[in-house]
């Protein structure tokens, strides 16, 4: 797999994504947000976490106007896999590539800790290497991760099975206590209608090493990589 990692001013998880892609034997390249036409030839596009444009106005609101985002939209429309993590998820929502919005955490605090999420879908290009209802331990680090949408959109997301991950407790139940930010229905990640765009607040790219607490993010990157030809490094 050849993955493009888009860097915005204020991205801070771009190297983590780059390393995660390398770790599963694939090739990653940084693409600066002002570049046009730079996504041709890539198998996947990854939008990293961080604080693009200082989260001014709203998280992701300015970044989605970056020149590269027109190419990201075209890439997604053509069926190419696009993953947005944390700020990347916020940017995808602001860009209209995913429905809903991410607002201030209910706690009003920046939440930086490990949480548990349950895999709700194993038939996507991002999650095929996970087991059905597998509970993962992954870190979150965000102040605006509270997923909101109008009622009709939420019903539609649930009816179409587009919730990819949900915050759960140790027994795999989506309880209120297990919800770190107040998201509707404990939503931690969703896909677009076609399933090729995934946005999630937790950081799978920070759950790649046992030494750092969890390796539960690895399968997301192997899922993605196994869909494409192996690249030789």
């Amino acid at each position: 797999m050849r993955a493009a990692v888009v860097t915005f001013p204020g991205s801070n998880c771009d190297y983590d994504l780059y390393k995660a892609v390398e770790q599963v034997g694939s090739e990653a390249t940084f693409v600066w947000h002002r570049e046009r036409g730079a996504l041709a030839g890539y198998d996947a596009v990854l939008l990293p976490g961080g604080f693009s444009y200082g989260d001014y106005l709203r998280a992701g609101a300015i970044a989605r106007l970056s020149p590269v985002m027109e190419d990201v939209a075209a890439f997604a429309k053509a069926g190419g896999p696009v993953l947005g993590v944390c700020n990347g998820f916020q940017i995808l929502c602001e860009a209209g590539l995913l429905p809903g919005a991410l607002v201030r955490n209910e706690s009003l605090r920046f939440e930086g800790r490990d949480v548990r999420i349950r895999v709700e879908r194993t038939d996507t290009i991002f999650t095929q290497d996970y087991a059905e209802a597998q509970v993962l331990r992954v870190p979150i680090a965000h102040g605006e991760g509270n997923f909101e949408a109008d009622r009709a959109t939420l019903d539609r997301l649930e009816a179409e099975g587009r919730v990819a991950f949900r915050y759960v407790d140790a027994t795999g139940e989506p309880t209120e206590e297990a919800n770190p930010n107040g998201s509707w229905h404990n939503i931690a990640g969703i896909t677009n209608e076609a399933g090729n765009v995934l946005g999630m607040m937790p950081h799978p790219e920070r759950a790649m090493e046992k030494l750092l607490g969890s390796t539960d993010g690895v399968a997301l990157f192997t899922s993605l990589a196994s869909s494409f030809a192996a690249t030789t490094l």
Binding site: L57, R58, A61, L65, C93, E94, P99, G100, A101, V103, R104, N105, E106, S107, L108, N146, E148, A149, D150, G182
Partner: protein
């Protein structure tokens, strides 16, 4: 062309939980303002704009809100023309 000053108010949509407003609500209660029933926090954006008329300036600001300044999923907006500024170019 004249220069206009506009005030754009962006506020959380009704029904949407506003944790900031809730926290301030609690703080006001703790200070003794028990009558405070609801607090919601929005933002005001002050804009200066050159336009042919006040109406055109207003329309432009509303377009800016739909495109960037407010998120239609979570926020409502209103635009008010504050004043026509002195020293405008003609």
């Amino acid at each position: 062309m004249s220069r206009y000053s506009l005030e754009i108010r962006v506020k959380p949509r009704p029904g949407l939980l506003d944790p900031q407003g809730k926290a301030i609500h609690g703080a006001l209660h703790s200070l003794g303002w028990a009558g405070v029933e609801d607090v919601r926090v929005g933002k005001v954006i002050y804009l200066e704009l050159e336009a042919e008329s006040g109406g055109v300036a207003q329309q432009a600001a509303e377009a800016m809100c739909r495109k960037l300044l407010a998120n239609p999923v979570t926020e409502d907006f209103s635009v008010s023309l504050a004043e026509e500024l002195q020293g405008a170019s003609s």
